[in-house]
């Protein structure tokens, strides 16, 4: 019984999220445009995540190289390391792991911020002052996250490759020029473009879920915590679904 209720409420939530997304697209193209607030959100969302993305990217590069090196050495194929690491980071690991850390940082932040604004009646106060709070709070955050995540992923990818180079240089005495020559030799636009396009969808999904959870927050401070928590869980799950669809579509167009 409770299982079927859980199933039902899950689909109700998906329906509500879809309506929320529909409202976003409707409000996105209607006046007035909140340009100043959008820039502020781009700065907040991008700037607040740079350090996290940099550290995550660097560690991804280090760890993948350290873990993979012994296996490749066993086959005498350590010269393939830059090609293998760059492809896996650019195509999949970079976008997904950076998006997951971004979800942890931004979806929970937006969920908690809008949630607390909801329970302390700040959103109502905005509405009463004749402002459209959806446009001011939700549209700006979703657009900012959609634009910022691809940039952060590109930055994270570059830092991850630098981390990988560091290990290769220490363990295999590979020069900077040789390492990155091998990286760019194997990488093609068909690796970079689909991977970057999907990060726009990741950014959109993360902020959409964060805003949805926060905007519809109920039950006081307990609700704020629950909104932040479920924003991270739901957006992380959605990322994997989007990733699966993106890889599937990429395979059709680019034959991976």
């Amino acid at each position: 019984m409770s299982g079927s209720n859980g199933f039902k409420s899950f689909f109700i939530e998906i329906g509500e999220l879809t309506l929320f997304a529909k409202r976003f697209f409707k409000e996105l193209f209607s006046r007035p445009f909140e340009g100043k607030e959008l820039l502020r959100q781009c700065y907040n969302i991008g700037n607040r995540s740079i350090l996290l993305v940099a550290v995550t990217g660097f560690i991804i590069g280090l760890v993948i190289t350290l873990q993979t090196r012994p296996t490749l050495e066993g086959f005498g194929a350590e010269s393939w390391m830059p090609s293998m690491v760059s492809l896996s980071i650019i195509r999949e690991i970079g976008p997904v792991i950076i998006a997951l850390t971004f979800a942890g940082r931004i979806a929970s932040g937006i969920g908690a911020e809008l949630g607390s604004m909801r329970v302390t009646e700040q959103i109502d106060a905005m509405e009463v002052s004749g402002t459209n709070p959806f446009k001011f709070l939700v549209v700006t955050r979703i657009v900012a996250a959609t634009l910022m995540l691809p940039l952060l992923v590109l930055l994270g990818d570059a830092i991850a490759l630098s981390g990988s180079y560091l290990i290769e240089n220490v363990k295999g005495e590979v020069s900077f020029v040789l390492y990155f020559n091998k990286v760019f030799k194997v990488l093609e636009f068909s690796d970079l473009i689909p991977a970057t396009i999907k990060t726009f969808f990741f950014g959109f999904a993360i902020a959409l879920v964060g805003c949805f959870k926060g905007y519809h927050c109920e039950k006081g401070t307990v609700g704020v915590g629950a909104a932040a928590n479920s924003a991270v869980v739901f957006s992380s799950m959605l990322l994997f679904v989007i990733d699966f669809v993106a890889v599937f579509v990429t395979d059709i167009f680019f034959e991976l």
Binding site: E113, S116, M117, T120, E121, Q122, D124, A125, M126, E127, V128, S129, G130, T131, N132
Partner: protein, 259 residues
Amino acid sequence: MSREQNISKAIENIDTKSVILEIKDLRKSFGSNHVLNGFNLKLYEGENLVIMGKSGSGKSVMIKCLVGLLQADSGSIKIMGQEINTINQKDLNILRTEIGFLFQGSALYDSMTVRENLEFPLRRHKTRFKDATNMDELVTEALESVGLLHAIDLMPAELSGGMKRRIALARTLILKPKIILYDEPTSGLDPITSKEIIELMRSIQKKYKTSSLIITHDVDCARVVSERIILLVDGINYVEGTYSELSTSTDAQVKAFFK
């Protein structure tokens, strides 16, 4: 002239004044919970009307229906001649600039300074306040009227509960509304700060000549600011009169309230 005489004179004048806000047969339910069951009221220009009632009697739901934060199930709400239940969003937003709303918890925007909190509604309605100098003047004037000009660059987190309420009142005043709705203006405040807020409400009403609808269960607040009181019981008007009439009533429900 004593305060009682002033109030009697005000009530005599009510009949000659025009109605600025009128509610007829307002009903609102949440599932099987019928919160408002045919509530009626008339607020006249320049009048201070207090709505009293126990927690859960439907006061806050009623005031949220007034500004379109909640949609009533049935009934009519007319503010300055415009029907809220059928008005379009654009016209509602314009009408909202004529209505100030003081929230129970102040509802200051946490991420903005006091100045930005006050500028926010002005920036939203640029057509009315084009001039930046004018904006500064309006912010200063609103803060001076609540005696907190020195707090202009502080964040809400740096303010006490009473200061927050006064800043919220300043934000309410900034668009020079014709009607101010107060939702529990003294709740959560100590008695001294409550008195200060009550005095402030009176002085604002005098200075700006606004009509005020005050929702409270604070009997002291009702005694000082009200010209007329409506007691709301189970979502419907139970009794109406001046403070002195209700405080001397022999009805058990009314007596329990004014004890």
